[in-house]
């Protein structure tokens, strides 16, 4: 698909904005950042509108190629999966800038530059078609996040940023080694070619584990999840939003782009490991979330539980599972982001994340209470919201592979309801016990403009998810086909019994009319 290099432009706009932000005053920096992210949002929507959704197999669109040196090239291109994640990124970015509008007062230019630079890198991750280019984007994403936590974070920010860095770096070293071996073996750095390359199944296991080390940390999966609560707690609001909203999705994107298609046999043989870790994560982190007294920590732990649904969906090796995983990623990106914004709203007013310091906010902040309730319910996975679609499909997918995993992971809907409603009750319901919390004003216009668009998209995704599923369908179908030979057998194996004795005759009249028979209104 030759033509206008829209992907490069989408990276160039925030890059230019980032550089400009470094040299101007605080207020100009804010406006530059907002405009740059909004322009990118418009470009992202144009990308979506021009994306050809009619394909039947995996297809790459908007490809760009410029060799740099050796095999290394500036190779970009997207498929439906990447498109959706890019849409999520460009949608969340202006909201992050808006959330930082008043909350950030020191080094505003640098802060905005860091955010814009991160947008460049995130779009880079989702568009890269060159293995090394992906690696650079993927790992460089650490740097602005590290700075955002380390400079604009809370009291314990240094520890949190080191922990974040240590964890994520460890995995990436192994991934780099694996990538070098792969390039050496396959003789190309092009991701689409590598996705169809059949590596020796023995080597696959090692390659899979090397990539797994990196993606599992990014995801994050149990037990390498402990950086996330600390990072979230210390990060400024917008940092948490982008962390939960987009950065966590890089792990899932890694699985779907690299681990599954490049190492299908190893993925299948190691699937029980992934299932096991995910099952533990759902139950373990949900229970931990239940006892948190810090709002951000609670939501951070809930993120780990939700991300575990993503991994079981991906490793269900069927279309429903993978589509569900993608929908959970998109839905969670919106909902967890919105929940962190909700936390930020009251944190900005009272400067504490301690749940017990709030209470009865429905009385003095009714608008806030409505939106917070909406996102709470979305997080709980109520049908009609984005998260339900994803969770349902992912769990339905895994049921076909293993009923045990499905059962354990579905308990997440009970535990999720428990910790989220318990949180909501302590913040918004009850009497106003704290005078300062009772004096907080309701949402400002700016805050409504941050939350309401997310709410609208969450609802849209919940009621008509077809808009989001359709662009991804051909690519996921291709992935399923790629995985099919290796996919593990389900444990449901139906065996037909003897034909039914004739005693059931009197139920013959039961055959209800087919639902397609008559469609006219009454």
């Amino acid at each position: 698909m030759d033509g206008f290099p829209i992907l490069s432009l989408m990276m160039a706009v925030p890059m230019a904005g980032a550089i400009a932000c470094l040299f101007v005053g605080a207020n100009s920096a804010r406006w530059i950042a907002l405009i740059a992210t909004l322009v990118d949002f418009v470009l992202g929507m144009a990308l979506w509108a021009n994306f050809d959704q009619s394909g039947s197999g995996a297809q790459w669109q908007f490809q760009e190629y410029a060799p740099i040196f050796g095999k290394f090239a500036w190779a970009l291109g997207i498929d439906g999966i990447a498109l959706m994640l890019i849409a999520l990124t460009v949608f969340m970015m202006p909201i992050c800038i808006g959330a930082s509008w008043n909350a950030i007062n020191k080094r505003v230019g640098e802060y905005m530059a860091a955010f814009l630079f991160m947008e460049v890198l995130m779009i880079g991750v989702f568009t890269a078609q060159d293995l090394y280019l992906f690696y650079i984007m993927f790992e460089a994403g650490l740097i602005p996040m590290y700075l955002i936590i380390g400079i604009w974070g809370g009291a314990d920010r240094i520890y949190a940023s080191y922990k974040f860095f240590l964890y994520t770096l460890l995995g990436s070293v192994l991934m780099l080694i694996a990538m070098m071996w792969m390039v050496h073996e396959a003789g190309t750095t092009e991701i689409p070619v590598l996705m169809a390359y059949n590596f020796d199944p023995h080597v696959q296991t090692w390659l899979f584990l090397a990539f797994f080390a990196s993606f599992a940390v990014k995801m994050p999966m149990w037990p390498v999840h402990t950086w996330l609560p600390d990072a979230h707690v210390q990060a400024p609001t917008a940092g948490s939003v982008i962390l939960a909203g987009v950065l966590l999705k890089m792990g899932g994107y890694g699985f779907i782009r690299f681990s599954l298609p490049m190492f299908p046999e190893a993925s299948a043989s190691l699937a029980p490991l992934v299932w096991g870790l995910s099952m533990v994560a759902v139950v373990y982190t949900s229970l931990v979330a239940l006892v948190q007294s810090d709002m951000k920590k609670l939501i951070a732990y809930s993120s780990v539980a939700h991300m575990a649904i993503v991994t079981v969906g991906l490793f269900a090796f069927n279309q429903a599972g993978i589509e569900g995983a993608m929908m959970v990623m998109l839905g969670h990106g919106l909902v967890a982001g919105a929940l962190f914004l909700c936390v930020g709203v009251i944190y900005d007013r009272l400067h504490t994340r301690e749940i017990a310091r709030y209470g009865g906010l429905s009385i003095n902040m009714p608008r806030y209470a409505v939106l917070f309730l909406f996102f709470t319910m979305a997080s709980v996975g109520l049908p009609g919201t984005s998260n339900f679609v994803g969770e349902f499909l992912a769990l339905m997918g895994i049921y076909q592979a293993s009923t045990w995993v499905a059962l354990v992971c579905t308990t997440g809907i009970i535990l999720g309801a428990a910790y989220m409603l318990y949180l909501y009750r302590r913040i918004c319901y009850g009497e106003q016990v704290n005078a300062d919390a009772a004096a907080m004003p309701d949402l400002s216009g700016r805050e409504i403009w941050l939350l309401a668009p997310i709410a609208a998209v969450v609802l849209w995704m919940g009621v008509y998810p077809e808009s989001f599923l359709k662009p991804m369908r051909p690519d996921i179908r291709a992935l399923e086909a790629r995985l099919a030979p290796a996919a593990p057998e389900g444990d449901s194996k139906i065996k037909m019994g003897a034909p039914k004795p004739a005693g059931e005759a009197h139920h013959e009249e039961v055959s209800a009319p087919s639902h397609s028979a008559s469609g006219e209104a009454h």
Binding site: P223, Y399, R425, I494, K495, G497, A512
Partner: protein, 682 residues
């Protein structure tokens, strides 16, 4: 037309809810109530057209919901006889409850929110009953759960209301786990979630086996039981019932609409809707019968000793749902649906009546502080009496004329007897529960409306009297006047000078309309619902209607027909003796059987057991995982351990960084040699 019925309440809820205070109380009330009355007016013609046999089942497709491979869930509105029954139940009770709430919630500042929730609930319930696939049913299922959560916790300042709301949601989610697993399994087996397609294919899967959780089971039994767990949660069956009594924390109109007439019957609806599927698994049906019978008995026993008027009715609801389930379990789906239908009217009536009593008694809910109210609130008294006559199944067995419950409950008992097997046990339990039903229902009436007033001990009444003297607050100007007149004059007769007032007409009209239902619903519709001929024509395949069983139920021995009648009279007699004739009997009973009494009073200790088994461990384990798993283990040996290692390592490397040029030269040389070796050997 069906689109209007379903979507009007949603529209009204959205406008009233989002408009909230900006919109104002009156517009919000007019909008929501008006929408519901239109829905109701549109629903009855549909029901009547099914009664006369003119209408055929049809589906109105809307648009795609979730599509993934062969999985295809569409938004669509299905109307058949089942839906038609539910449409009239839901819209009639809902519109009356909306109207009733004008009076009951009059002093409430937050009215738009309340009415928006009510309408939202109605929308979700309508989506549930018009579902053409399991997923849309689940959407409605969760939607009514949300509305129930919001309405139970409507008075969100009250800690008990919040706790009850969360409990309702979470316990229902346990059932939902089963429902979801059931959908997954159904899709796996049938490759579709469209209800008609599943029902068509279900018989072909009978006798097959399936792997589930590492073992092999009968396919249809697994699917039916998983779905039934969902039904148990929503319909508060034994084991998952604990949320329903607590749900009485919500405003009384909510209890009438959601926790009596409509939402809690969703489980029964589901089993009946999927009846051809349940018919393929005898094991599943047996389980349904036993669970229903057990709930029926359990709730009835607990209901006999409760003192909170709403809790008595709540346990009564729980018990009546048990009847519906064992009716379904023995294959009498028509009878189950019929009892659902009649129960909606008389139970909503009883709840709204209780609300009227509570309204008159200044929010006092404890029946120990009632008494002698029949003269002060006569309309409430008479309508509640009609409701009680209906629920206890008053009627003449041989003539076949009686109140609504007479047709439906006796129909269930006769069908259970006729079915035999597990049905025989259910019949015995059901008859005994009917005795208890009669007892606790009349106990409620006698304690509330008869005897001498016992109002002075009530704190609420004390407050009312105090308020009336301190400052006649605006809403009660006329009340205050009344209190002033008589206070002091007749203290000592148990009234404390308090004068209960009959509720306003907006509350009485719903009571009167519902009592018409309680009186005539059985007589008018029994042939269509459970008649062995009429049933086939009416249901027309919407449920697995068993004409033979219904015929057998009509032919049961006379003593079977008289059994419910006899126990009904016995229960009435015992209640009359204990609460009117010899009012010290209850006290003596408690003294003699204190163990049994506290066992019943504490609801068989289910709450305590669950708290001990689930709630406390969940928090304890969560804390353990956090403190010892995350912090004590993963962090200690993970990042923090690594950091410590790095610090140690630094001490070593510091020695290498000596600053002497020759050390660096040496290291460089070693490095070069190694690189050269590698380059040459590869």
């Amino acid at each position: 037309m069906i689109q209007l019925i379903v979507l009007l309440p949603l529209l009204a809820a959205a406008i009233a809810g989002l408009g909230n205070k900006a919109l104002g109380k009156l517009p919000a009330k007019i909008l929501t109530t008006g929408a519901l009355f239109i829905s109701c007016a549109l629903s009855w013609p549909i029901f009547i057209s099914f009664l006369t046999g003119e209408a055929q089942a049809h589906v109105t497709p809307l648009f795609t919901w979730i599509q993934s491979g062969s999985f295809d869930a569409q938004w669509a509105l299905r109307v058949d006889a089942m839906t038609a029954v539910m449409l009239v139940v839901i819209t009639s009770v809902s519109s009356l409850v909306h109207l009733y709430s004008w009076g009951y919630m009059d002093e409430e500042p937050d009215q738009p929110r309340f009415f928006a929730y009510l309408s939202l609930f109605t929308f979700a319930m309508l989506m549930l009953v018009t579902a053409n696939n399991l997923l849309q049913m689940f959407f409605g299922w969760e939607g009514v759960g949300l509305a129930s959560y919001l309405l139970i916790g409507f008075w969100f300042r009250k800690p008990s209301a919040n706790a009850a709301a969360i409990k309702a949601f979470v316990v229902n989610r346990v059932g939902d786990l089963g429902f979801m697993m059931g959908i997954f399994g159904t899709y796996l087996v049938f490759n579709t979630i469209s209800i008609p397609e599943i029902l068509e294919m279900a018989p072909s899967m009978a006798g097959s086996t399936i792997g589930f959780l590492g073992a092999r089971f009968d396919t249809m039994t697994v699917l039916c039981l998983l779905l039934f767990i969902g039904a148990m949660g929503k319909s508060a069956q034994l084991g998952l019932h604990t949320w329903l009594p607590d749900a009485m924390e919500g405003p009384t109109p909510v209890s009438a609409l959601i926790h009596a007439a409509t939402m809690v019957t969703a489980g029964v609806f589901m089993v009946c809707r999927l009846s051809p599927m349940f018919e393929t698994s005898a094991t599943a049906l047996t389980v349904v019968t036993y669970v229903g019978a057990a709930t029926c008995l359990f709730a009835a026993t607990v209901g006999t000793v409760q003192t909170d008027i709403k809790r008595v009715i709540a346990y009564s609801t729980c018990s009546q749902l048990g009847y519906m389930f064992f009716a379904a379990g023995v294959g009498a789906y028509g009878a189950a649906m019929f009892h659902l239908f009649t129960h909606a009217f008389f139970k909503a009536l009883l709840f709204l009546g209780a609300g009227s009593v509570i309204h008159a008694m200044h929010h006092e809910q404890d029946m120990r502080y009632y008494g002698g109210l029949r003269k002060s609130i006569p309309v409430t008294f008479w309508t509640m009496t009609l409701g009680t006559l209906a629920i206890t199944g008053v009627g003449l067995p041989l003539v076949g004329i009686g109140f609504a419950g007479f047709y439906s409950k006796d129909g269930i008992l006769e069908a259970a007897y006729a079915a035999g097997g597990a049905g025989t046990g259910a019949f015995i339990v059901g008859v005994f529960a009917a005795l208890l039903t009669s007892f606790y229902s009349w106990r409620l009436v006698f304690l509330t409306f008869f005897g001498k007033p016992r109002w002075t001990q009530s704190e609420h009444i004390q407050h009312a009297l105090h308020d009336a003297h301190g400052h006649g607050h605006d809403d009660h100007a006329h009340d205050a006047h009344g209190h002033d007149d008589h206070h002091g004059a007749d203290a000592g007769d148990g009234t404390g000078g308090y004068h209960p007032h009959e509720s306003p007409w907006v509350m009485l009209v719903p009571l009167i309309v519902l009592s018409l239902g309680a009186v005539f619903a059985g007589f008018l519709f029994h042939d269509q619902f459970i008649g062995s001929e009429g049933g086939i024509a009416f249901w027309n395949g919407a449920i697995a209607f068993d004409s033979h069983l219904m015929h057998a139920a009509h032919e049961v021995p006379t003593w079977v027909k008289f059994a419910p009648f006899t126990v009904m009279l016995t229960g009435l007699l015992v209640a009359w003796l204990s609460y009117i004739r010899n009012t010290d009997w209850p006290r003596r009973f408690v003294a003699t059987f204190s163990g049994l009494y506290s066992f019943l009073l504490n609801k068989w200790y289910f709450d305590e057991l669950y708290h001990f088994l689930f709630v406390k461990p969940a928090f304890a384990i969560g804390r353990f995982f956090w403190k010892f798993g995350d912090i004590g283990f993963i962090d200690r040996f993970g990042p923090n351990g690594l950091a410590a290692l790095v610090v140690q390592g630094n001490k070593v490397t510091r020695r290498l960084q000596s600053g002497y040029l020759y050390t660096y030269a040496l290291v460089m040389l070693i490095g070069l040699a190694a690189a050269a070796t590698w380059a040459m050997t590869r």
